[in-house]
Structure formats: C-alpha cells, structure tokens
Symmetry: C2
Subunit: 204 residues, 2 copies
DNA sequence: ACGTGTCTTGACCATTTGATCAAGAATGAA
DNA sequence: TTCATTCTTGATCAAATGGTCAAGACACGT
C-alpha cells in the first residue's frame, strides 16, 4: 500500500483527461450556461463516457467551478500589469489592447464570466469581494495618482475601469450582435483603434 | 356558436393573466436564463397553477418569445429618439442618460437580452439583422453627419454606439460585480456624470 | 336561473439528466 | 510476469421538468 496520504498525486492519465474535460467544459458552459449545459455534452465533446467524466469530477458543479477558477487567473493578468508610469496613455493603451485581444482570442472565457455574473455570481462572490476588489482598489489608486499629478484629465477611476471592461468584453459577449450589425468583415485593428479613441481621447 | 373567426378577442381574464405571466416570466427568465428557468417557477411566482399557465402559453418557449418581443419595443425607444440637431453633445447626452436610466429602472429587461445574445441570439437573429440593423445604420449616419459638419471629433459611429450600449448596460448586466466593487452606496447621479464624461469628453 | 363557452386544476405521462455502482480492462511498479 | 491500483463503462436509478387531459368550476350574456 502506497503511503500517499494527502496530496493525491496526479497520474499522467489524470492530468491529460482533466485537461480535456476542462477545455470541453469551457466550450459547453460558455455556450449554454450552467443549467443549459449537460454532462453528456461535455463528455461526448472530449470523447469520454459520462461515468468516466464523473470519475474525475464527481458532480457537474465541480466541473463548473474548476473551469471558472482555472480561468480566473488568466482573466486578471492584464489588469495586474497596469503600473504607475510616466505615460498613463501608453499604460492604459497596453491594458485596453490586452483586454481586447483576450476577448478576441478567448471569447468563451469572457462569456463564461459574463454568464456567471449575469446570474448573480453565485460561485464567485468571494472572488469579487476579495481578490478582485483589492486589485481594483489598487489600480484605481494608480489612476487617481495620474489625475492628481495632472497627467490625465479627471475621471472617476472605478467607473473608468468598468467602462474599459464593458467595452472590451462587449466584443466577446455580444459578438453575435456585433457581427449582425457590422457584417463578418469586422477588422480587429479598426476595432482596436476605435475603442482606444473612444475610451482614451477624453483623458488627453 | 360565436362567429369570432380570426382575431380571437381577449377576455378580461385573459389579458389580466397574460400580463401577470409576462411580468413573472421576465423576472424568472432574466434571473435564471431560458434553460435555468422552470415553468413551475413562473407559475408559482404569479399565483397560477402550471397547467393553467400552459393554458395561456402552450409551450415554455412561447412564454419566452412573448416576453422577449414584449420588451424589444421598449428597448429601442431611446435610440429612436436620437435625431440630427445643432447640438450633438446634448443629443447624445439625452440618449446615454435614457439608456442608463432604463438599465437602472428595468435591469431585468437588460439581462434578458444580454442572456439571449450571449447564447447566440437564437430567438432574435431576425430582429438583429432587420429592424435593429436598419435603426443602427440610420443613427450611424446621423453621427457621421455631425462629424463631417465638424461638430464633434471623428469617431467610428458603429463602434461608438456599441460602446454606449456596452457601458450603459454594464450597470444592469453586471450589477452584482459593480456592487461588490463599489459597495451598495453607488450613487446613480455620480454614475451618470462619470459615464457621460468618459463617453463624450473625447468628442469635444 | 340557464346554459354555453371560458377558465382552472389534480393526476398523470414521457423524457431528460445528474449521479451511482459493480464488474471488467488497462496501467505500471516490483 | 504479477498484482495492486487506477481507469473505464454498461446498466440503472431517482428526481426534475415540460407537457397532456379529462373533469369540474366559474363567468357572463340572455
């Protein structure tokens, strides 16, 4: 008998399959929502049988929270990179571009969060009130510093951050609508330039 | 036998109950999404039995599309009011304020649409490609006129409209997040002032 | 009060779906 | 190879849920 007590070390097969599952689950949950997604869908999407999937995650909700947490870190990365600097516009431009590119590269993640928050954020309330709030406060302080230093025109830092989120995520969350109204032509570079102008021109 | 052939005139009880149902359904669908909502929930929320509710709307989907269409008109009203005028900033201010107030007064409607579009807009594709597209084109033309007349600085009209939608609806769709980060204090007037500044200062 | 058509509901059905389990197959360290 | 552990799955269950139906309650014009 192995004396593996606590850590429950991962087998090769374990990590491979959990990875498969999380990828498929992100797809399915982001498309159909938590209630709309079925374990069968996820299972067949990653080529596992349903009981096998439930061998790795005992409950549907476990899969969901795993996907959610797995994506949270990545989600915050761009905001973390916002630092005090001599050129706020450059700094904010980087942030907005990063956010926008993330929305375009991984819209499923954006929709997963949108859906979660839209329905009251039952699984990530703690995240919102804890880590996210701390991070936002820190970054709001950075923006406030820029304002008091006279480097940008006055804005409410919190509402400005919300606006950046709203606009950038809009292109992932409402992609269907954007495509319906702009046609599939939608040039990412044009979008980027337009969004940067709209959000930043008021600060100059 | 009454010779009522086509119009299927509405009884008093009919219109009363349909109204009850639509109100309750908006609440339930916007909170839990289409798949997450149950007919039982809607029925008990408006004090009707499930079979009775299904007497007025034979399928769950019928209730959903009814609520959706019932809200579409109201949803477009603010955008329709955007007219050419000598003072674009005033005009846009009115629009943004109207949008923002609608988000605050009827967040359920906003969330209903957000959820529908988030999941691919299966029920309102025609609306997006038809009436909405026409309206957006018309209003984009208005904004373009302002620009060529030199009354506001250049912006991509479509992306600007998207940004207005994104930011204003954010306060309804992501209310949980906003509250978590700002506390329940959130002053609507401050929000309004901040949003107006962020969206319009760049045009002046 | 009468009677027709409208409204309401308890009981019931079929399907979907999350979850379980026992038994068998594959894996990998010795 | 051996064999304990890990992995896989067909069969199955219980609960939730959309929807039906026949029978009865009610509304309302006459």
């Amino acid at each position: 008998m192995k004396s593996k007590a606590k850590p429950a070390a991962k087998t090769r097969i374990q990590s491979e399959n959990q990875d498969l599952i999380l990828k498929a689950a992100l797809d399915v949950f982001s498309t159909y929502g938590y209630r709309g997604a079925t374990v069968d869908q996820i299972a067949s999407k990653c080529g596992l049988s349903k009981p096998n999937l439930l061998y790795y995650f005992r409950r549907k909700e476990d899969i969901y929270t795993a996907v959610l947490e797995h994506t949270l870190t990545e989600w915050l990365t761009p905001l973390r990179m916002l630092e005090v600097s001599n050129d706020p516009i450059t700094e904010l431009t980087h942030y907005i571009v990063a956010k926008l590119e993330m929305s375009q590269r991984n819209p499923a993640a954006s929709r997963l969060f949108a859906n979660e928050i839209l329905h009251g954020a039952p699984h990530i309330k703690k995240f919102l009130n804890g880590p996210l709030k701390d991070l936002v406060e820190a970054k709001a302080a950075v923006i406030k510093d820029w304002i008091t230093a006279g480097k940008i025109k006055p804005v409410d830092p919190h509402h400005f951050i919300f606006s950046i989120w709203a606009v950038t995520q809009h292109y992932a969350d409402f992609a269907v609508q954007v495509e319906a109204l702009m046609g599939p032509k939608l040039d990412p570079e044009k979008t980027q330039k337009a969004v940067l102008g709209i959000l930043l021109n008021g600060l100059k």
